[in-house]
C-alpha cells in the first residue's frame, strides 16, 4: 500500500513538472517560409498600377504638420540648403543642413505645394551654426520648374571669411598660373589641402543645379568634383570649367554636369552655363584585366 502511494507520488511529480522550455524568438505571428513571402497581411490595402515603368505605388503627399525626421521635411530642408549656398556660398563658406526642428506643408490650389520650415544650418568650414526660417514653393504641373525659396537665417554670417577669400582671390587672379585638379575627393575621401577650396567652390556651384532640379521626389548631394580647370580671369571674376558628379538619393543615380563658374569676393558664385552629360552606358562593360 505504502509503495503504491510512493510510486503515485513520483509519477504525479514527473508527469506534472516536465519542463518544456521554449526560446521566445519574437512576438506576433511569423510568416512561414513555405508561405509566399510576398503575401500581404489581410486587411492591408495597396494601390498598385501595373505599368512597365518605375514607381507603381502612388505616393501620398503629407499635408499639415510634418514630422521633422521624416523624408518630406528633410527633402524640403535640403532644397533650402542648396538655396542658401547659391546666395551665400563661396570657396570658404559651404552650408549644410544640421537639424529640422519643425515644418508644415500645404497644397496651393492647382499650383503646387508650399512648405514652411524651421531649421538649423551649419557652415562647414567655420562650424558656425545658424537658425533659419524658410518658405519654399514646389510648382506643380507638367513643366519642370525650379522651386522658389525664401529664407532668413540668424548667425550663419558670423563666420568671417573675408581675409581667406581675399587671399585666395588674389592668389589665383593672375592668369600666369592657372590651376586644375581632378577626383576631389579621391576614392579614399582624400584631397590635397590646396584643392579643398576648389572642392567647396564646386559644391556651391553644384547647388545652383541641385536647387533648379529639385522637387519633392529628389534629394541631391554633390558626390565628387570629377575635374575642374581654371580659365583666364575675365571682368575681375575667377573663371572655371567644372565637371561635377551629383548623387540623387531616391533614384540613386550619379548625374554628370559640366558648369561654367565664376567667382569673386564681391560678386559671389555665379554659374553661367550648365550642360548635362549623358550617362555612358558603353563604359559599363567589364574591364579586360581582372583583380
Amino acid at each position: 500500500m505504502g509503495w503504491t502511494l510512493l510510486i503515485l507520488l513520483v509519477v504525479l511529480t514527473v508527469v506534472h513538472g516536465n519542463p518544456t522550455v521554449m526560446v521566445r524568438t519574437g512576438s506576433g505571428p511569423t510568416v512561414g517560409f513555405d508561405q509566399h513571402p510576398n503575401s500581404v497581411p489581410l486587411g492591408e490595402d495597396i494601390q498598385t498600377t501595373t505599368e512597365g515603368e518605375s514607381e507603381v505605388v502612388e505616393e501620398v503627399m503629407t499635408t499639415g504638420v510634418l514630422n521633422p525626421s521624416h523624408y518630406p521635411a528633410r527633402r524640403a530642408a535640403t532644397v533650402v540648403q542648396h538655396y542658401l549656398n547659391t546666395r551665400y556660398g563661396s570657396p570658404y563658406r559651404w552650408i549644410f543642413l544640421s537639424t529640422v526642428h519643425s515644418g508644415s506643408a500645404e497644397d496651393v490650389a492647382e499650383m503646387g505645394r508650399k512648405y514652411q520650415l524651421e531649421l538649423t544650418m551649419q557652415e562647414m568650414i567655420s562650424n558656425v551654426s545658424g537658425q533659419c526660417s524658410a518658405e519654399l514653393f514646389f510648382p506643380g504641373g507638367e513643366g519642370q520648374s525650379a522651386p522658389q525659396v525664401q529664407a532668413s537665417c540668424e548667425g550663419l554670417h558670423q563666420s568671417n571669411t573675408t581675409a581667406q577669400e581675399e587671399a585666395f582671390y588674389q592668389q589665383h587672379r593672375a592668369s600666369n598660373n592657372l590651376v586644375s585638379g581632378n577626383n576631389i575627393p579621391d576614392s579614399y575621401g582624400h584631397m590635397e589641402p590646396s584643392m579643398k577650396p576648389f572642392w567647396q567652390l564646386g559644391g556651391v556651384a553644384s547647388s545652383f543645379i541641385m536647387l533648379r532640379e529639385s522637387n519633392e521626389s529628389t534629394l541631391y548631394n554633390m558626390a565628387q568634383v570629377a575635374n575642374f580647370t581654371q580659365l583666364e580671369t575675365e571682368k575681375d571674376q575667377l573663371r572655371f570649367n567644372y565637371h561635377v558628379l551629383l548623387h540623387e538619393m531616391i533614384s540613386q543615380e550619379i548625374i554628370h554636369w559640366k558648369l561654367l563658374v565664376t567667382w569673386s569676393p564681391e560678386q559671389g558664385v555665379q554659374v553661367l552655363q550648365t550642360e548635362l552629360q549623358p550617362k555612358c552606358h558603353h563604359c559599363e562593360a567589364p574591364p579586360n584585366t581582372t583583380n
Binding site: 511529480t13 513538472g17 522550455v21 500581404v40 505605388v57 523624408y71 565628387q224 574591364p287
Partner: protein
C-alpha cells in the same frame, strides 16, 4: 622570391597595426585578412563559402563564436551589398576585430560569444566591390555585375531590390540601366540567392539580421513598402532608438530611426525585408556616415569614429537580442522548475494527508 617574401611579411605586420582598421582595403586584402582572422583565432573563427557571384567568385562569411556541443543561435551581419559604400566592409572588419579583441576579457562579449554565433559577410557584392576599385571612374558603382538582358546593354542589378520581399512593387526600376534595377525576377542574382539560401537554412536560429550600408546616418526598420507594417514595429523602433542613442553617446552623431518609407524612400525587395518576412524578429539596415558632405567617399580619417559609433549601435541591438533570448530562457526554466517543485510539494502534502486520514480511519 625575396620580393614576395618581403611583401608577405609586410602584409602580416600591416594587419596587426592599429592603423589597418583606419584604411579601406581591396578585395584581395580583405580575403587575406579573413584567412588571418582564422589563423590567429582557430578556436573561435571559421569561414564558410555560401555562394558564388555572377563572375564566379566566392561569397564568404566568417563564423565567430565559442564552440559548443549544442546548436547555437545566431546573429547575421552583411556588409558591402552596394559596391560604392566602402565604409560598410570597413565596419564589418572593425566589428570582427573588436569582438575577437574583447571576448576574453569583456564578460558580456564573452557571454554572447558563448551563447551565439556571429555570421559576418565582410563583402557580399564581391564583383561590384572589385569593380569599384578598378579606377576612379568606376568608384561609384552600386549594383552587381551581371549583364543586362533583352537588348539592354547596361550592367548590374540592385541586389537590395532583388530579394523575394514584395519584389518589384515600389521604389524600383525596370530599366536595366537604372541604379535601382530590380532584375528580371526576384533572386535573378546569385548573390541575393546565396543570402536567401543561407537565411532559409538558418531561419530557426537567427535572432537578429543587420545589413550595413552608407550614407545618410539612419537606422531603418522593416518594411520598405509604405502600406505594410512589421508585427513587432514597436519593438523594432524601441530597439532602433536605443541603438541611435548609443551611437550618439560615442561622438555626438545623430542617426534617424524609422521605416524606409518614413525617413528615406519606399522600396521593395530588400534583404532586411526578406529577413523580417521569414520570421527573423530583429532586422535592421544601418546607413553609416555621412549626411552628404563626402557621401560615398568618406575620408579614411573618419573610418575609426564611424566604426566606433556603429559598433555601439550594433552592440545595443545584439545585447537586447541576446538578453531577450537567454535571460527569458533562463527565466522560463527557473519558473518551470519552481512550478514543478511546488506541484510536487503540494501533491505529496495531499497524499500524506490522505494516508494519515486513511490510517486513522483504519
Amino acid at each position: 622570391m625575396c620580393v614576395s617574401m618581403y611583401s608577405a611579411v609586410w602584409s602580416r605586420e600591416e594587419t596587426t597595426e592599429r592603423n589597418y582598421y583606419t584604411r579601406y582595403h581591396n578585395m584581395s586584402e580583405i580575403t587575406a585578412w579573413m584567412e588571418q582572422m582564422k589563423r590567429e583565432n582557430p578556436d573561435v573563427v571559421s569561414s564558410m563559402v555560401y555562394g558564388q557571384t555572377y563572375e564566379r567568385r566566392n561569397i564568404t562569411l566568417l563564423k565567430i563564436g565559442l564552440s559548443s556541443t549544442v546548436r547555437k543561435k545566431a546573429i547575421w551581419m552583411d556588409c558591402g551589398i552596394h559596391a560604392r559604400e566602402w565604409i560598410a566592409p570597413a565596419f564589418c572588419q572593425y566589428f570582427v576585430r573588436e569582438i575577437l579583441r574583447t571576448y576574453k576579457t569583456d564578460t558580456k562579449v564573452n557571454e554572447m560569444m558563448k551563447n551565439l554565433d556571429f555570421y559576418i559577410t565582410p563583402v557580399l557584392n564581391v564583383d561590384g566591390y572589385i569593380y569599384s576599385w578598378h579606377n576612379e571612374s568606376t568608384r561609384l558603382w552600386r549594383k552587381s555585375r551581371s549583364p543586362g538582358t533583352g537588348g539592354c546593354t547596361c550592367y548590374g542589378t540592385d541586389l537590395n531590390r532583388n530579394f523575394y520581399a514584395n519584389w518589384g512593387m515600389v521604389g524600383v526600376s525596370t530599366d536595366c540601366c537604372s541604379e535601382t534595377y530590380c532584375g528580371t525576377k526576384a533572386l535573378s542574382e546569385s548573390e541575393a540567392w546565396a543570402v536567401t539560401d543561407m537565411l532559409g537554412k538558418m531561419r530557426e536560429d537567427i535572432l537578429a539580421f543587420l545589413t550595413i550600408h552608407s550614407y545618410s546616418q539612419l537606422i531603418l526598420v522593416p518594411y520598405g513598402h509604405p502600406n505594410i507594417s512589421a508585427p513587432n514595429y514597436d519593438e523594432l523602433m524601441e530597439v532602433g532608438l536605443g541603438a541611435a542613442k548609443a551611437i550618439k553617446a560615442v561622438h555626438g552623431m545623430d542617426y534617424t530611426v524609422g521605416t524606409s518609407p518614413d525617413v528615406l524612400y519606399a522600396n521593395s525587395g530588400s534583404s532586411r525585408d526578406f529577413a523580417r518576412l521569414i520570421g527573423i524578429p530583429l532586422s535592421f539596415t544601418f546607413e553609416l556616415r555621412d549626411k552628404g558632405e563626402h557621401g560615398f567617399e568618406l575620408p579614411e580619417d573618419q573610418i575609426q569614429p564611424t566604426c566606433e559609433e556603429a559598433y555601439a549601435g550594433a552592440q545595443h541591438i545584439i545585447t537586447y537580442t541576446h538578453d531577450k533570448a537567454f535571460y527569458s530562457y533562463a527565466a522560463t526554466v527557473t519558473a518551470t522548475l519552481w512550478t514543478t517543485l511546488l506541484a510536487a510539494w503540494v501533491s505529496s502534502a495531499i497524499l500524506l494527508t490522505i494516508i494519515c486520514m486513511y490510517k486513522q480511519v483504519k
